[in-house]
């Protein structure tokens, strides 16, 4: 499948000799679906339906790589992360970690895999227990996995605090004594405590101010270099995602509509949604802003409780044709896959 093309040699951290087989993906997600059934209205006129939060997402993440997932609110990017960790149960599809299937496992069976995948959350205020000290928060994962003695763990906490740029003297302080950026560092130290191979970062910098955001982004990139971590980096800020990711998937209504290396996606977006999304981001340069042709999309992101027989973007799409509403476009094409009939049609003048 095209969607699974490995990162190019320059972006991968392990040099790859010509002709060598691509490395095994660390994480493989196959046709993942998460549907939430709902019922509303009075019982005599019950309206039942399904919210298709994630509707057939496939991708792979290689060791040491960052895969970015961008999209607007409600496109299913966070649900995808939660489904990978089995925090919500996938309705369909498979998740493989190092070739082992991990979807559908119960909590007990899932535990050893959770040591390899950790998560960093958006809200540094809500994701730390206010009644635990920083030391207790960071050592808790090691306790759960029975790593080392009490003394070892204490030393490890100090090392981790140093690593993420927190002063080890603050070991016995509580989360409320820290600023947002520092709390996010605590969350990162906690995720690193069990030496995971993959970290799912769910909007890790969106709650932070610009100057602090840059500090945390630099930290995540440094840690990746030093520890060889892989990230799934979820965010709505396209500039941030481009900066940190090797490859980027653009999501719309529960599906990946385009997947490419970061440079290629931003230089030559193929899907009309990606193009609109990129043109909507204001650039902090007034001279360039004035010259830019902004392609403003009409309408809102539609509700995921509707079923779309065709392309879910069709009713906002400037290129829409009759065939677009008939069957869903597959994620395919060259030079990188995009889920659009028009972009993939060799006869279409829109084709780039």
């Amino acid at each position: 499948m095209n969607a699974a093309s490995p990162p190019s040699a320059e972006v991968s951290h392990r040099p790859q000799a010509a002709g060598e087989r691509p490395p095994q993906p660390l994480l493989k997600v196959e046709n993942l679906k998460v549907h939430f059934p709902f019922a509303r209205g009075p019982i005599w006129n019950r309206h039942r339906g399904v919210v298709r939060a994630v509707d057939g997402v496939s991708f792979e993440v290689f060791p040491g790589e960052t895969l970015g997932l961008v999209g607007e609110s409600g496109c299913g990017k966070s649900t995808t992360a939660r489904a990978i960790l089995n925090l919500v149960h996938p309705t369909a599809g498979h998740v493989y970690l190092n070739g082992q299937r991990i979807d559908g496992l119960n909590d007990q069976a899932m535990l050893p895999y959770r040591r390899q995948i950790q998560m960093i959350f958006q809200d540094p205020f809500a994701s730390l227990n206010p009644r635990m000290t920083v030391g207790a928060i960071i050592s808790e994962p090691m306790k759960i996995f029975n790593l080392g003695t009490e003394h070892d763990r204490r030393l490890e906490v100090l090392r981790l605090m140093e690593l993420v740029g927190l002063n080890p003297r603050f070991l016995n302080r509580y989360p409320h004594e820290f600023s947002g950026g520092q709390r996010q560092r605590i969350g990162i130290a906690r995720a690193l405590a069990v030496q995971p191979k993959l970290i799912l970062c769910d909007e890790p910098v969106s709650a932070l101010d610009v100057s602090i955001q840059a500090q945390v982004i630099n930290l995540l990139m440094e840690l990746q270099q030093r520890l060889g971590l892989a990230y799934v980096f979820i965010a709505h800020d396209l500039s941030v995602v481009r900066h940190i990711s090797h490859r980027v998937g653009v999501m719309y209504l529960g599906r990946i509509v385009e997947l490419a290396t970061a440079d290629e996606l931003y230089a030559r977006p193929r899907h009309p949604y990606t193009q609109a999304l990129l043109s909507a981001v204001p650039i902090p340069d007034p001279a360039k802003e004035r010259k830019r042709q902004r392609q403003v999309l009409r309408g809102d992101v539609p509700s995921p409780d509707r079923e779309y027989p065709g392309c879910s973007f069709a009713d906002r799409c400037p290129w829409a044709e009759p065939r677009c509403t008939q069957s869903p476009p597959p994620l395919e094409g060259q030079p990188h896959p995009a889920a659009c009939f028009v972009a993939n049609d060799p006869r279409s003048p829109r084709r780039q």
Partner: protein, 332 residues
């Protein structure tokens, strides 16, 4: 001048001590002008505008000094009754969160007609016709039907359109937009910014845009004030500000941003440290503990926001542009 703010100081008494949220700021605004106020959370940008509109609860807040002259009247000393004639009528405001700023129990019709019935003394029928017309202008489809809906029946972007329709109902002279697009997705943000600019052009309304997003500022504003820890540290035309930032904080903000129009993956150059605790503002320049260009004078003396070079005001002793060029030469 439409609005002239002079030496505004606002403080809040808290359990942790006195917070100087706004610490002596001055600015002015002409008719039809767009002024941006940029700063990070807690820099005092929202408090500034709440103070102008008389919306600071006192206590715990206190307006310590200052004047805000709007068409010859000082808003800060105006009696409540007089102020109410101006708010929503001559000065309108839109807020960040369109969900909490609309009343969930009232239909859009009820909320949109209230403004014109109060300020213009119109009858309901006339006010309703005007409300529908305003909704059409801000791009709400089937406005005559949707006007009877409740806020929950609208999406985030649509609610912000309703707020804009309400704000512009009385053709105000000044629109204060406090982070109007922060809660919205980028594609919706682009729609709303376009709408604000288009309406501004048609009506000649002056706009104060408060935001933390430098991209939005570059897109919308003509003049920009950069705010840090309750003070303005730099004021400039938008082009000059982005091309040649003169204050180290502005420079730091611009260097912290990952940008779509630049090489990918280069190391960002963030500002070191944390914003100051407002109960304990450092002596001298507020920015000096985080400043890479610090000199001996900085912790001792507060640099005044004065015009130094080419009609630009900034509060710094150091020629940052010169220093940055020297640093580049030395390193490469």
């Amino acid at each position: 001048m439409l609005l002239e703010v002079e030496d505004l100081r606002v403080s809040f008494q808290t359990d942790h001590g006195l917070v100087r949220a706004v610490d002596g700021i001055s600015f002015s605004l002409d008719r039809g002008e767009t002024l941006g106020i940029v700063g990070e959370s807690g820099s005092g940008k929202s408090v500034t505008n709440l103070a102008i509109l008389g919306l600071i609860p006192q206590p715990p807040g206190r307006i310590e000094s200052g004047r805000a002259n709007f068409r010859g009247q000082n808003l800060l000393t105006l009696p409540r009754r007089e102020l109410q004639k101006i708010r929503g009528n001559r000065i309108a405001m839109i807020f960040q969160d369109p969900m909490t700023s609309l009343n969930p129990f009232l239909t859009i019709a009820q909320q949109l007609t209230e403004v014109t019935m109060l300020h213009r003394g119109w009858k309901y029928k006339q006010a309703l016709d005007h409300a529908v017309e305003m909704l059409e202008r801000v791009g709400i489809p089937a406005a005559s039907r949707r006007v009877n809906d409740y806020p929950y029946q609208f999406s985030g972007g649509m609610r912000q359109r309703v707020m804009i329709a309400m704000a512009l109902s009385c053709q105000p002279d000044l629109l204060i937009a406090d982070e109007p697009t922060t809660a919205l997705d980028v594609t919706i943000q682009a729609q709303i910014l376009e709408l604000i600019q288009q309406l501004q052009k048609e009506e000649g309304t002056a706009v104060i845009l408060i935001t933390h997003d430098l991209g939005v500022v570059a897109n919308v504003c003509r003049r920009v004030n950069v705010m840090y820890a309750g003070r303005f540290v730099e004021e400039a035309d938008v082009d000059a500000l982005f091309a040649q930032p003169r204050h180290p904080y502005t420079l730091g903000l611009l260097n912290s941003l990952p940008r779509l129009d630049e090489q990918r993956g280069a190391r960002l150059d963030p500002i070191a440290g944390q914003p100051p605790d407002l109960t304990n503002i450092p002596p001298g320049c507020v920015f000096h503990p985080r400043c890479p260009f610090r000199i001996d004078r900085c912790p001792q003396e507060v640099p005044a926001l004065t015009e130094r070079i080419d009609h630009r005001r900034y509060a710094c002793f150091v020629d940052v542009q010169h220093q940055a060029r020297v640093a580049v030469k030395e390193n490469g």
